[in-house]
Symmetry: C3
């Protein structure tokens, strides 16, 4: 019985995580910077191996998204972030660790889609009135580790 | 108890939807036009921003698939449709709204795979003796909205 | 009641399979050849339409991964294997048949990601102290069938 219940939780958790990423990345790709930032906790930390230091807090995360989004719109480019191959692990503190691969597919108006970027994406998700990212680490595959 | 049951339904629904897309797109990619058309309701509507008007009904959906499939076979090309990043939302009328991203990967015999197309795919699925598409809207990213 | 239970099992099974692939392919991509081989049964058979004959047993599977991994490391290349569009079917003998699509995304240090390969991947998974692959068949889309 216990195992069934735990197993049930595991499918439920994966479904929630997948729904979360589908919703979250769509906000980013649609240029909805504030709604995107709201999928992070107020004090979230966003680290990337392409940046000299982390982006801290919702306001900074929204500002970064607004800048990128404005550049893409001006260039007539649509981005699609695909998160996949996710390994989902509940942690003892109630958070969830999710290790994923991510792709950015970019299409210019009138052009062919290109594979803009391949990365890993390691998240700590928490249930803060719904799932939110407390910590994200993105590592681009083109940067030597 | 109620929450567990509802949660259970949400994971179940996502699993059904994912199994459906895996099966459905494989039929298209294998050139099985009639079996592909049978994954739509009899009166299904297939809209695409690349087309001047919608394709209506199973017979027209099958005919379109037969044409594309014959062209690809003649050219020695294999297509793989990937549906992903799906946000799954049950509607009050018993249908399910699924908003997804889609990629078409195309490989020529002896060639390298190319990213043929990046789109969004918005479906209304119904349980009509198994899941079927009642309405599909595909929007190519290379066409300005 | 019976149907609910079976449906519950189906979401659980899909979640296990997805978690398995996420973990398994990450081991390959990280160059952990022995841990990768350990995700196959001792007597596993790995068939590929690009090879003249199958690779049989964990030792041979590990050796093949070590070779490829050493070549990629020497060339400064990272590979990401994406498994997706999986149709999951439990078989009567307790094994699970999974028919998937697979992509290999390759990125050179300082370079842009490329779509290295598009394939199908047909697995027989068994529960052998956790999920393991007993038989895998990989068919590259660029090779005529």
């Amino acid at each position: 019985m216990t195992e069934t219940v735990l197993a049930g939780r595991s499918a439920e958790l994966r479904a929630r995580v997948e729904q979360f990423y589908a919703t979250q990345m769509r906000l980013l790709d649609a240029g909805e910077a504030e709604a995107w930032a709201d999928t992070f906790t107020e004090d979230a930390v966003f680290s990337a191996n392409a940046q000299s230091g982390p982006t801290c807090g919702r306001a900074a995360i929204a500002a970064a998204a607004r800048r990128t989004s404005a550049e893409l719109r001006a260039a007539g480019r649509t981005r699609r972030h695909w998160i996949g191959m996710s390994a989902v692990e509940p942690a003892e503190d109630g958070s969830v660790r999710v290790a994923s691969y991510a792709l950015i597919i970019e299409t210019e108006v009138g052009g062919s889609p290109i594979l803009r970027m391949s990365t890993t994406c390691d998240d700590v998700l928490v249930d803060d009135d719904g799932l939110r990212v407390r910590h994200r680490t993105v590592a681009r595959d083109d940067i030597a580790s």
